[in-house]
Amino acid sequence: MLLLASTVHAQIYTVSGYVKEVGSNEGLVGATVVDKNQPRNGMASNVNGYYSFDLPKGEYTLKVSYVGYYTKVVDINLTKDQSINFNLNEQTSKLDEVVVNGSRSDENVSSVKMSTEKLEIKRIKSIPTIFGEVDIIKSLQLLPGISTAGEGTSGMFVRGGSSDQNLIMLDQATIYNASHLFGFFSVFNPDAVKSVEIYKGGIPAKYGGRISSILDIQMREGNNQKFVASGGIGVISSRLTVEVPIVEDKSSLLLSGRRTYADLFLAFAEDENIRNNILYFYDFNSKFNYSFSDKDKVFVSGYFGRDELGFEELFGFNWGNSVLSTRWNHLFKDKLSLNTTLVYSNFDYGFDVSTAGTGFNWNSGLQEYNLKMDFDYFLNDNNNLFFGANAIYHVFAPAEISSQNPNIRNFNLQNDYAVETALYVSNQHDISEKLSMEYGIRYSSFAKIGPDSVSVYAEGKRRSPENEIRTDVYESGDIVKYYGGFEPRVGIRYMVNSKSSIKASYNRMRQYLQVATNATAGFPTDRWIPADYHIKPVIGDQVAIGYFRNFNNNAWELSVESYYKWLQNVVDFLPGEDILLNDRIETAVAEGIAWSYGAEFMLRKNVGKTTGWLSYTLSRTQRQIEGVANGEPYFARYDKLHDLALVLSHKFSERLSISGNWIYATGAAVTFPEGRYMMNGQNITYYDDSKRNSSRMPDFHRMDLALTYELNSRSNRYNHEITFSFYNVYNRKNPFSIQFEHVSNNNPYYKSAEHGPMTSNKPAAVKRSLFGIIPSIAYNFSFNK
């Protein structure tokens, strides 16, 4: 028997290798490699484009497919462990119709993954945007379950979570503030981005640290076969990217930059206060990779972006992220691989005020030093094991104020230090042809460490200086407070038939950092605070169930998901309390719970002349916090009962295409006044403090269009195209805000010098709309040698 077992075992071989893109030689993440006759035998390529699985000795037809690329079919005779690399061609417009009748990925149905959205960068670039600026975050806001705080803001609110509950990673490096110009644009230069994937639920054990979503953005590696330059000139910014092969097939370098020139237009403003400002941002991305062999690759990527604002010599204000990520990918053998990633992330801002008598400098920042080790072990045909560890050292420097002026004393808010660690293991398990699971567990911990001084307050009394009973002082490295806990993750997929499946998932997440703000959209000056002696980590649980169905040979994808999410230790900040320069931040905090639930509908067409999707979300998000609204439940501002997006692209010909989107959403939940009174000679509104966000802004809807014409055939070395886009085509005056103020002569612009004597002065509701119809034009090009 032993001999027989040994013989049978000896006849199992491993087929492994990389799936890469033809031309650039970049690895494709999530490409599926399967036995064509037994699709259950196979797997999706990992973050490096690597795949590996076992098959018994024999002859096979392997099918390799990836969305947006031509499927490749290869016959093999497996008589030993075999390494096969696949190079896939990107689909061009000319051949799209062929693909409609060909074979396409059924990942929507067959994968265990749910509540996950992946957007091709090509698709993102085709979506019409304001000023023609391609924006990854705003594109994600068109997907079900992901909403925006308001027009022009790039904060994401995923399944009822706040914007600080999203872990945004660029090549595994955390981006703490992903927006430029207060959120009008996001920091990701689309030319430098390879793939965008967001997990809204069913989050794998590999990921942690945030409650609501994981946004994993991968930078392009750069072409290691030929020199490529690409870029664009737009209304408010220009971009340039170069890809340089260092050693053919082994190494390349990508450099990409973007700079806005909105400040040049300010010079034409009538208002002197606007004319004399500095107002721009820039981004710089770079990535270097070197392939020592098929078993060892090194990637070094960096991002540096900054916003610069200023008014004459009176003040300057700047902020930005700088991140550096170094990844070593090592294959121990065909079945075991390790990604070791070392990350440095920094976000900082600074004010420089030079006014007479009160000049000062204000600097603030936070840093993260992050080490990750992620193993993939292809255990056998049915089990793919993922395990690893993660350690982060956090430094928070909330404020350092210095002044040469004797009136102002130098002031430092106490720095905070913390160590966050995690261990995880998960298994992707094909139980039968119909049933697959991914189950895992993550243990995360967080230690707030010294130096620190902690105020301890009388038991049962409000945390306030008057109720302090002692101050505990901690030396450098002392543990001030330790939190830790398990985070189970389970996903299950049942194939109803070859075209449809039912999926369900559960995940628990723990979040140890949050942004201290009561506003919905963030300022760059918002303060990140760690869990500490008083403030507990936020714990979030989510269950989701969904039905997935593909039609017409996978040309159409349909999904319907429903979720329920509940959070503990959610904080809100008490009105009137200082958050920014408060050394006792716990005195400003109130804790409570939050919950959200909803249903998401997605119908998508990925191939053909007309592509796009229709997404609809029906949801509710509420919070209940002691000390806010008399402790009664209230809607989050970003609660929207209905949120709908229609995104379409159509190719009229090889060169001419049109794309458009239409968005509709229920108005945001807001607090309107219930009366008014006079105080200090001022009219002031009165609110019922027992109600929060009990009124609604008017509904939001908008249509955008873009027309792109390729100026020559794609087969040329120099390709260029021109895009005309129209934001808010029918000039809908969507409300950005509603202010309650006295208006003279029924004219919100009233100025006595311009409009004559005042004849009336009445209380009114004044709506501010940010953008009417905005036409723009962009020219894009690419050149390869």
Binding site: L181, N273, R637, G675
Partner: protein, 287 residues
Amino acid sequence: MRTHRNKILSLILAILISWSCVEIIDLELPQSDLELVIEGKLLNEESLQTIKISESLNYYDSSELAPFKDAEVNLMDHQHNIIESFIYSHEDSLYRSASPIKLAVGKEYVLQIEAKGEILEAKGKIFENATLDSLFYLSAEELKSIGKPVFGDGYFMFVNGELNNQGIEYFKLDVTVNGYFRNGKNDFTNSILTSEYFGRKFQALPIPGSFEEEDAVVLELYSINKDVYQYFDEFRNLFANDGGVFSPPPVNPTSNIKNLTNPDNKPLGYIQFSSVQRRNIKIEERD
């Protein structure tokens, strides 16, 4: 410091949304019961001290606030002994002390109001005011020439002096120019001061706003209690709240007046206990 930061952020935000447009809309608003509104300033100078009590209006009601005439108002010492009873005056719709009185620096007082069957109470101490040694002014050109830029044109006023109490002190600075009290939103925002980030002595500390030649300026500096400062601070936050995504949900400023009968039914407004000092200065043409 925070005020500076908030002003800068507001200015930048104003630039970013400078192309936006505004219009009056019809919006149905919820209505609640009328609330008591109380505003009072009790000073360390011999005068008829006054308290104003009125009722709030529905938002779109454009009439004047109706005075509340049926209250009983008493000024007490910290042990609740009545010092003075206030009488409603139909002439100016204010409650006035029966005779001129002066609150003493360093002492604590209680103002008690009985209205609508409920007892309301505010407590406060009269703190010693700061010492203002000297006032001077410079033109924008002069300031630029010495490397001290300022917003706008005209003349800018500065003060030298020192603080007289331990710990953080709070002030309200009212500026009247040629008989007009500067009371716009920005003026109010700039008038609330804290010594939190300042040293005990101050040199060339700027007075908010700019002035023109021949302006007759009256400065009134009030020492205020922390809870009244907190009220004013929340008040100016409410001013700055535009109801947009960058603003927190609006709430009523926290009054320093407690409702002893029904703590959840808080009145609107504040009672300020202050010492005050005044300075007059005329901006004269410079050579």
